[in-house]
């Protein structure tokens, strides 16, 4: 049936339905070719669209792709394109739901840790594009703060700093895949604590101790320094060296400012 003068919206819906599912042939009625030729021409657009999305996802989830192999990754991408359509004209956030799909497909790939590897890679990507802030940390002023004011001291953390923990050794898995190492990694009972942040022009993934991770997590949600210290010691049953923590996170730019509230 010819669709002479059909409205543009209907034509665009038919076109994209075919891009998502090549069995949907409605759009062919709008094209002046044999079915085979129409399909071949439409295929050029479908290849462009899927190739573009696949290249974005491949660049974000490099390690996931390496672990599952190109063929299975392609299958994931095909399903992702159908299930989680892009909603913006730019693709910076296009992969945001990919870890959800990896989780949904657990029965297929049977890799318990894969969702967390995908989450880590997504944070790495998000850290690169995170908002810039001016670093206002006045070290000299900070050094002059008297200890009794620590009760009311809080810190601002750089927006590119993300914290992530997993019951699987995802940092080791990520690192080993990046370095093409053949070292065997013990997957179970091997919790890892991770910080992802942007240093100069690159995202960096760093392994943290449990105490450092708790410390930063509490500071990030605006706990004051003293209460953070108490909570970390109580939770880990360890005395922490707060001076060395502060030194580290001020010097590496994770703390961008501080505030003393009354």
């Amino acid at each position: 049936m010819s669709k002479k003068n059909q409205n543009l919206l209907a034509l665009q819906r038919d076109f994209t339905s075919h891009l998502l599912d090549k069995k949907d042939l409605t759009i062919i009625n709008s094209l002046p070719y044999s079915t085979q030729e129409a399909l071949a021409r439409l295929n050029i657009y479908r290849n462009n669209v899927t190739g573009n999305f696949e290249s974005v996802l491949s660049s974000i989830f490099e390690v996931v792709k390496k672990i599952v192999g190109e063929k299975y990754f392609e299958k994931l991408v095909t399903e992702y394109i159908k299930t989680y359509p892009s909603t913006s004209g730019n693709l910076d956030y296009y992969g945001d739901s990919f870890p959800k799909l990896v989780k949904k497909k657990l029965k297929e790939h049977k890799l318990l840790y894969l969702e967390d590897v995908a989450k880590l890679e997504l944070l790495y990507h998000q850290s690169y594009f995170a908002k810039d802030v001016k670093k206002n940390f006045d070290v000299e002023k900070f050094k002059k703060i008297s200890p009794e004011k620590y009760m009311n001291l809080s810190f601002e953390i750089h927006p590119s700093c993300f914290l992530f923990s997993s019951k699987f050794p995802v940092f080791s898995i990520w690192k080993s895949n990046n370095e093409n190492s053949k070292k065997k990694i013990k997957i179970l009972d091997n919790v890892e604590y991770i910080m992802i942040d942007r240093v100069y022009n690159s995202s960096v993934i760093t392994k943290l101790s449990e105490e450092e991770f708790l410390f930063l997590s509490l500071i990030k949600v605006k706990n004051k320094l003293y209460e953070t210290y108490q909570k970390v010691c109580r939770k880990t049953k360890k005395e922490i060296d707060i001076g060395s923590f502060l030194n580290r996170f001020i010097s590496n730019g994770v703390f961008v400012n501080f505030k003393i509230t009354k």
């Binding site: 543009l8 994209t16 709008s30 094209l31 071949a40 892009s86 004209g89 730019n90």
Partner: protein, 289 residues
């Protein structure tokens, strides 16, 4: 935080530029090669932060820049995405490009974005949809925009006019200008056997063309049920072919000295290869000045 740059390079008139691509960025920053102007794909600079925009600001200190958008989906039956457009407006305020362009195509429907340049039927309904969106974009940005003729791999049964007529009506109706992609003219003419590229140029309104794109393309084959047919794909991965240089000469003869860009998006070669393509374009411009 991102302040507008001052002491900008002057707006190039009739000069030949190249598309700024990541493999060349360090060389451009450090060696400052003599390139008349650079064009960037704006969607690469819409993130909340990160190094890309800072690098572009650095480059802008030494080069005029034009903006080429790929994601406004001007030909969509739905209204243009103002959130996306706001990002462009912010970037314009920071970089101050001398031209802003997008495409005669669409990529979004029902809130789903396919992030590609999909073909429009050349009908009065499409003309109304794209004209409305171009007008919204120009009003929102408070500036004239350019629209690029597409590379088409198919045509629609319902076409009521040819591409040149469609473009002329669009530019007359909205006051936008044409970014004439000469490679796209050639690719579409070969793929659809619907028009002769030289006749196409003759038809286009003389005063509407404000920028020209040149690029390479690749060849493939499709099966029509009985025979294999050659099809040209706008891959931007090769030197500009002889036929396209020939059409470019015709374009410069008709439209005068127009700012021209060499585009190369895949299998990106050394900068010197692009520079040598710009030299060929400059020679053609010089012959016609």
């Amino acid at each position: 935080m991102n302040k507008k740059i001052t002491n900008l390079s002057p707006i190039p008139s009739g000069k030949v530029g190249i598309g700024l691509r990541s493999p060349h960025i360090n060389q451009i920053l450090t060696e400052k090669p003599k390139i008349s102007w650079l064009e960037v794909h704006t969607e690469n600079y819409y993130a909340a932060g990160g190094p890309a925009i800072k690098t572009l600001q650095e480059i802008r200190k030494n080069y005029p820049i034009s903006f080429h958008c790929v994601g406004n989906s001007l030909g969509s039956s739905q209204k243009i995405d103002l959130v996306h457009l706001k990002k462009l407006k912010n970037l314009i305020e920071i970089i101050d490009p001398f031209l802003v362009s997008d495409h005669i195509s669409w990529g979004a429907v029902d809130g789903k974005n396919f992030n590609d340049l999909l073909p429009l039927p050349y009908t009065s309904k499409s003309l109304k949809a794209i004209s409305d969106n171009v007008s919204v974009m120009q009003d929102f940005l408070k500036r004239e925009i350019l629209v690029e003729n597409p590379s088409a791999y198919l045509a629609f049964k319902d076409n009521e006019m040819d591409e040149a007529d469609f473009i002329n009506q669009l530019t007359r109706k909205t006051g936008c200008k044409l970014l004439l992609d000469v490679n796209n003219v050639f690719v579409s003419s070969q793929n659809n056997a619907q028009f002769n590229p030289k006749k196409y140029l003759q038809k286009i309104d003389k005063k509407s063309v404000k920028e020209i794109h040149l690029a390479g393309h690749s060849k493939s084959k499709i099966f029509d049920g009985e025979n294999y047919k050659e099809i040209r794909i706008d891959t931007h991965d090769d030197l500009v072919c002889d036929e396209v240089w020939e059409i470019y000469q015709e374009a410069i003869k008709k439209f005068g000295v127009i700012s021209t860009l060499i585009e190369w998006d895949q299998d990106i070669p050394d900068l010197k290869v692009l520079m040598s393509e710009t030299k060929k374009a400059k020679d053609i411009i010089l012959k016609n000045e």
